[in-house]
């Protein structure tokens, strides 16, 4: 297993997600998760892609991805040099009997209860992949009725930003209003 996390800056234009996911599927690359959303710059969206590159060199995946015209920059995110989180919402069976036990688990994992009724509790948690997996296994004994999970998002530690590092050289104005070179 060879998992890598990529931060991908893309133009915020229609069809970009289809181009990226289509590329992965037609070249047989495995996506573990993909999260996409807006950034500090309205022209740019950011994707965080966790890929399992068994059988395909990471370099080849990155180069193919980089060929997409709407892809502006790709950076590999190193676990130890970044903060990472997934979002989890999970609905478990709850009875007055086990409610106290559930609350204990929720507290241990710094999760929170966001909804409850007579027979169920919905828990929301954020954290890295390992923490979310641990929480889920701790909740398993209560009976997981439904769960939904987002892809991983990640940000480099320290004051350096991917946007500043790359966008200023690629002809896109960066977030704080500094007008970058627009000429080709």
């Amino acid at each position: 297993m060879s998992k890598h996390t990529l931060s991908v800056l893309v133009e915020n234009s229609p069809g970009v997600l289809a181009r990226v996911s289509g590329l992965f599927s037609r070249r047989g690359y495995n996506i573990d998760s993909l999260a996409v959303g807006p950034t500090e710059n309205p022209l740019i969206s950011r994707m965080t892609i966790v890929i399992n590159v068994e059988g395909h060199p990471l370099e080849q995946v990155i180069r193919q991805l980089d060929k997409l015209v709407n892809v502006i920059h790709i950076a590999e995110v190193i676990d130890s040099k970044s903060v990472q989180a997934e979002l989890l919402m999970v609905k478990i069976s709850a009875t007055p009997k086990n409610r106290f036990d559930v609350e204990a688990v929720v507290e241990t994992y710094e999760a929170k209860i966001v909804d409850e009724d007579a027979t169920s509790i919905t828990i929301e948690a954020t954290g890295d992949t390992a923490k979310i997996a641990d929480l889920l296994s701790a909740l398993e004994r209560f009976g997981i009725r439904e769960l939904v999970q987002s892809g991983l998002i990640a940000l480099e530690r320290g004051s350096v930003t991917l946007s500043e590092r790359t966008l200023s050289t690629s002809g896109i104005p960066i977030a704080n209003g500094v007008q970058a070179d627009y000429q080709n």
């Binding site: 133009e11 229609p14 289809a18 080849q60 920059h73 896109i172 000429q183």
Partner: protein
């Protein structure tokens, strides 16, 4: 100065501004508004009978002239008929822009009459594509499309335009600069890589130039000739590179791969260095990768970084325009050779001996009938090296690559990567009947003559061949 007009006029003005002189197509509902301004424009529209023909004709135009080929079709079935030529152009890195009409923007996504998501369909095999619903976006999209199609590794770009965007009022302003933040093809090779390549070449005693279609795309045939003669190493030219190096040149061993010559195949297999220029280690050349050129180090020069290391590890990767790469390599190699010139005599002797022992050949039928290879060979001799040869796909294509002697680039057209049967009939009948457009620029005194040899093979013979002989290689 911007001027008020409708989107269709803006489209045609954009195409004129992009330098289009000819385009191939068929009108239809959604694209119809664009056909009015075409009448008044300098662009010559060649009406075809099937959109696939328009696409292949555009490909042929591009392959012969080096300019961007343009085809135009309507929405739905018109657009889907362009799918094969777009895939074909993507595989063979042909610069092409396809314009398609789309149903009016309000109808998109409703399964409207003659609606097809051509942008979605063609994502995998266009270099880029657009769906335009705002007429103001037309000039920018067309400018970008031509820039993307013709720069870097060439390829097809599709611009799908909603009918209402063609009809609505807009202003036309041709963009003075192109801003594509995610698109910066690297043209100039890294000087360190050039030095490494030159050093590696001087250490080699069995080098081969493995030349691909990129050399023709980059118009680098003269530079290649210089480089090959400077080193004095043998040259093989792939199916897409026939004509990149003169067949008559002593150093030329022919085409490598499944349908190649014994000398060319052996040269790659026995080489200690492959100097790979604008080629992509296609499976028809390499066969089983694990047994391909096992003793060779690899210098891989290509404009597409994704090709380097895709199929074969490159000891010296060089990303850049192959013309610039060879031009930089020539002085670097000259210098390196002054210090250390490897002796290639015995290597060349071996290869020349293979070439004379195992020349390309064919059997003459015992019943006195004329063999198809003979027909092709004669045709090549009669028409000569200035003629443009167009093949379909299959056995006759291989014969045409083998038994015609190619001396010049852009004289050999075929569907290499995708292997599109019908490529020739669609293209030849259309283009070769309309030759004036490039005869004027290229060979003013050229006589237009079309020879279409019809070879009676009574079977899909290449399939038979593969079944009989080469099945173990596939």
């Amino acid at each position: 100065m911007s001027k008020a007009m409708n989107g269709a006029t803006s489209l045609v003005k954009s195409l004129e501004s992009a330098g289009v002189d000819v385009m191939f197509g068929i009108p239809g509902g959604a694209i119809l508004p664009a056909y009015d301004p075409i009448f008044d424009s300098s662009i010559r529209h060649i009406l075809v009978r099937h959109e696939q023909g328009a696409g292949h004709a555009a490909t042929g135009y591009a392959q012969v002239t080096g300019r961007v080929g343009v085809c135009i079709a309507t929405s739905g079935p018109g657009a889907t008929n362009l799918v094969t030529p777009l895939a074909d152009a993507a595989m063979d890195s042909v610069p092409m822009v396809a314009i398609t009409g789309q149903v009016p923007s309000a109808a998109i996504g409703t399964d409207a009459f003659q609606e097809a998501d051509i942008r979605g369909i063609t994502m995998p095999f266009t270099k880029h594509n657009y769906l335009i619903t705002n007429p103001d976006d037309i000039p920018r999209a067309i400018a970008e499309a031509f820039h993307i199609a013709s720069s870097g590794r060439p390829g097809p770009v599709l611009v799908d335009i909603a009918k209402d965007a063609l009809q609505k009022e807009t202003t036309f302003e041709w963009p003075t600069s192109i801003n594509l933040p995610g698109y910066h093809p690297q043209l100039t090779p890294d000087s360190g890589a050039i030095a490494d390549a030159a050093a590696l070449i001087t250490q080699s005693s069995k080098p081969v130039f493995y030349v691909g279609g990129g050399v023709i795309k980059a118009n680098a045939n003269r530079e290649l000739l210089q480089l090959a003669e400077l080193l004095g190493a043998p040259v093989v030219t792939t199916l897409m590179a026939r004509g990149a190096f003169p067949d008559s040149h002593t150093l030329h061993l022919g085409m490598p791969g499944m349908h190649g010559t014994v000398a060319a195949v052996t040269a790659l297999q026995k080489a200690d260095l492959l100097i790979t220029l604008g080629a992509r280690f296609d499976d028809r050349v390499t066969g089983k990768l694990s047994t391909f050129a096992t003793n060779a180090k690899v210098i891989h020069a290509d404009i597409d970084p994704a090709e380097i290391g895709k199929n074969r590890f490159a000891d010296v990767p060089i990303v850049g325009d192959v013309k610039e790469t060879i031009s930089a390599l020539i002085p670097a190699l000259k210098k390196a050779l002054e210090k250390n010139r490897p002796d290639l005599t015995s290597w060349l002797r071996q290869m020349y001996s293979l070439r004379s022992t195992y020349p390309l050949g064919y059997d003459t039928p015992a019943d006195g009938s004329v063999s198809p290879q003979y027909v092709i060979e004669r045709l090549g001799k009669i028409a000569g090296p200035d003629a443009i040869y167009v093949a379909g796909v299959g056995q006759h294509q291989m014969w045409a690559s083998q038994f015609v002697s190619y001396e010049k680039p852009r004289t050999w057209l075929n569907s290499g990567g995708l292997g599109t049967m019908g490529y020739r009939s669609r293209l030849q009948l259309l283009i070769m009947n309309h030759l004036e457009w490039y005869a004027s620029g290229r060979r003013s005194s050229m006589k237009v003559a079309i020879q279409i040899p019809i070879l009676n093979q009574s079977a899909y013979q290449i399939s038979q061949c593969l079944q009989k002989r080469w099945v173990v290689l596939v």
